[in-house]
Every structure is written in C-alpha cells, then in structure tokens.
Amino acid sequence: MDYNVIVIGGGPGGYTAAIRASELGARVALVEENSLGGTCLNRGCIPTKVYAHAASIINEIKKAGQFGIAAQYTLDVNKLRAKKEKVIERLVGGVGYLMRAYDVDVIKGKAKFLDRNTIQVDRKYTAEKFIIATGSKTLFPPVPGIDLPGVMTSDRALELERVPERVAIIGAGIIGLEFANIYSSLGSQVAVIEMLPEMLPMVDRDIAGILQSALEDRGIELHLNSRVEKIEEGPIVVFTKGGNTERLECDAVLVAVGRVANVNGVEVLKLQMEGKGIKVDDFMRTNIDNIYAVGDVTGGIQLAHVAAYQGIIAAHNAVGEKRKADMKVVPSCVYTEPEIAWVGLNETLARKKYGDIKVGTFTYSASGRALTMGEDYGLIKMIAEAKYNQIVGMEVIGRDATEIIHEGVLAIKEEFTAEEIAETIHAHPTISECIKEACEDILGLPINKVRTSNNL
C-alpha cells in the first residue's frame, strides 16, 4: 500500500484529519481538486468574516458620535475584496505549510474510488484507510428563473464586484442573515425572504426577536412565511405571502436556502447513505470498515468546527484507536450585528427533556462593560434543569456572543451546575461576568438585577 491513510478533500474536516493521523504516526496523503482549506477558508467562514468585520467597522463609525467622535468614511470595495483575498491566501498558504511540516503528501486532482483500497487521481494510489471529507455545495431550489443573470450563490456573492443597490436574499438561515448584515452595512437596501414562519427556529423567540428588531431597525426588510414562486428578468423575485403575491425588484438575488453533501467519486463503493449524506457511526466509520467520512459530506451539522472535530475522531480510529465522537455539545454562531450564539438545549427543548427547568437571564443594558461600549442591547440566557441546577443550554445575543458562548460550551460539556459558575470570580468589567449573574439568577441570588421570581 502507498499510504496508511489517504484523506479526500482539503477542507477543515480533511486537513485536520490528515495532520492528526500524521501526528499519530501514519503515512498520510491528502487529495484536493481545488484549493486547500475547502469551503471554509476559500468560500465560507473566512471570507464572510472579513466582510462582517468591515461591516462592524462601518457600524462602529456610525455609532461613534455618542463618544464625541464624528467620523466620515468612504468604502472602496476593490480594496475590501483584495483584503479578503489576502487573508484567504495567508490561511491557505498556512495549510500548505502545515501539510509539508507534518509530512502529508498533497495530491492535486479529483479522487475517484476504484475499490475499497484504491483511488484514481493522476494515477492510482492505495491505502489501508480512507477518510472522505468532500464537503458540500450550494443547494439550488427548483424555482423558475434561478439561472437568470443577477442570481448568485454565496460563492459568487463573495466576489463582491460591487455593492448592489437592492439585494434580495432567499433564505433567513445563518448564511442568509450574515449576508443581510454585510450588504446592509455596506450600503445595500436588503430584503430577506424566508419560507418558515420564523427566523432561526433553533433559538428561543426572545433571542431571535432581538435580532429581528435589530435588523429591521437597520432597514432590512424581513418577509417570513413567504414562498418564492419564481424569479423574473430584472431580476424580480416573485413570492407569495399570506395569500398575496408580491414582486420585489432588485439588482441582485442571493440564494441561501441550504447546502447539500458533495458525494462524488465514491459510486463504486456503494456506500450506505442517510438522507443525501454518507451514513457514519459514532466512530465516523461508513458501512465499509476501512472507510471513514467526516464533515459536511455526512449530511450532519454543517459547521467547520464539527468537520474538524470529526476529522480528529476519524484520524484516531483510522490509526487503530477506538474513539467515540461526542456531538452533544456543539456551539453555533451567527456573525450578524448583534452576534448570536447558542449551545445545548433551548428553553423549549430543555422543558421537554427535563420537565422542570430554571432560566437565568442578564441583559446588556445592566452590564457595565456593555454600556461603556455603547451596547445596550443584548441578552444572556442560561438554562438549567431544576433538580441539580445542571446547565443544559446557553443562548446569547450581543457583542462578543461568539466568544463568551464558550463558557457555556465548557459548562455543558463538563456537566457544571449553576453553582460552579456563580462561585467563580469573573473579571470586572466584562461581558462574561453577566454569565455569572445569569447563573446567580438561576439560584435565586443575582446581584445586579432583581430576582426572577420563578427561580425563588
């Protein structure tokens, strides 16, 4: 055999698996037909965050007047796009450097399985174990006119040739909302069209409601319960909402209704599927025992950190260990303004699972740190089952949500009760100290707020 392990796909799932397998002593190759770093670095997490940061600078400038700072700005999209390219280049270069440092052979090209131990790329390569990490691609809904000029996927939108005057975004999922925030901050008039009756159905309504008002306050139109019927030349998005047909004229349409597993080159293996993804067990093993699959291609939670985690699990198992994936505690982040992050169970799910629960809250409007930054809207919720006060969920909306959520991540993963957080000294003034306050609220003993009577 040429290798102990061959990884197919160089996104966060694949390159992480390759590095870990190498660290554990395996001879490893990684096949990538495109650019190292996958969707995440080239067309996903990273470019969207560069634009989101530009958006946040602009919003900070707009709000700076309250601090006596009167500022004017002009935006050069070409420079902004160049910055995005530079960041991508640096990170993709970094992955290449790591491949060399960890002695992973990078094979350029599209891999196709010939049998359970052989793939064809430029030539045949054999390995004892394979890890499939071929990711996902944009889903195109079967809507007439979806292929008209002016209709884009996120890949195309990230090219950001110009800031369109009016953008319609189809889908209010994480990607749709992040683009809504970006376009609107850069100056577009944005409308979001969502089929479901609510935005972000996985978080509680109080949290989603704050985001909804924040976006609407910034002039973003939200059409919920709205079904896109077709796109006409213009482009014009035609959708039905409460029985009425509406027509939305715009300069660009972004389709962000979801992504599907990118299963390719594996036909000969006849792998067992689950939905549209490759079926795997807790050890990231497919039904063929020397073949693992990780990340978006499994059709599970489509997040880079999930792909990377699964890559690590698969690497350990591919070299002969037996490590089980623990997918109970996975944080989700939305990089809008305000940011949203959550982990574990929301109130509804927690009540369903535990019956009796306690919810502790703290608002940014009572946080010294938030007020010093002029951020007076934001909310932290800690959710505990009522018997031991075990923390089972956390939701945050507000500045730094995507960082401070990790206190909840650790707490749930390590089976903390509210007491542990309440009795831990948190630095003042920080947003994180509000997490402690919310836990004290669960215990009926908050300091900087009146007690939530349900918890007494």
Binding site: Y388, Q390, E414, E415, F416, T417, E419, E420
Partner: protein, 63 residues
C-alpha cells in the same frame, strides 16, 4: 469537599460529584470515561446500577 491530598486528585465533573454525594458513592472507586479519565454523571449512574445489581444478584452476574 476539598481534596486533602494532591496525589488523590479524583477527576469528576461537578454534577458527578453532586450525585455521588447524594448517594454516598465513593468516587475513587469509579473509572472515569470523560476526557482525560474524568468521571461523568453517566459513570456514577452506571456504577450505582451495578452496585444495586451486586446486592440483588451474585457478584459474578455483574460483569
């Protein structure tokens, strides 16, 4: 609650500790399955189930 000896450092999650205390379970008798061998709630519950089984049935039936 406080560990009197660094060497006897028993790694257990806070919830595992609470449940062990409530049920008079000696944590040092349990093998942890969490990260780095930390004892989890599930470990304590499994241990307690086995302990109950031990009382009801013959010790050999436990394994």
């Amino acid at each position: 609650e406080e560990e009197n000896n660094q060497e006897k450092f028993v790694k257990a999650t806070p919830l595992a500790r609470k449940i062990a205390k409530e049920n008079n379970v000696d944590l040092s008798l349990i093998a942890g399955t969490g990260p780095g061998g930390r004892i989890t709630e599930e470990d304590v519950r499994k241990y307690m189930e086995n302990r109950i089984n031990v009382k009801k049935e013959s010790p050999a039936a436990v394994e």
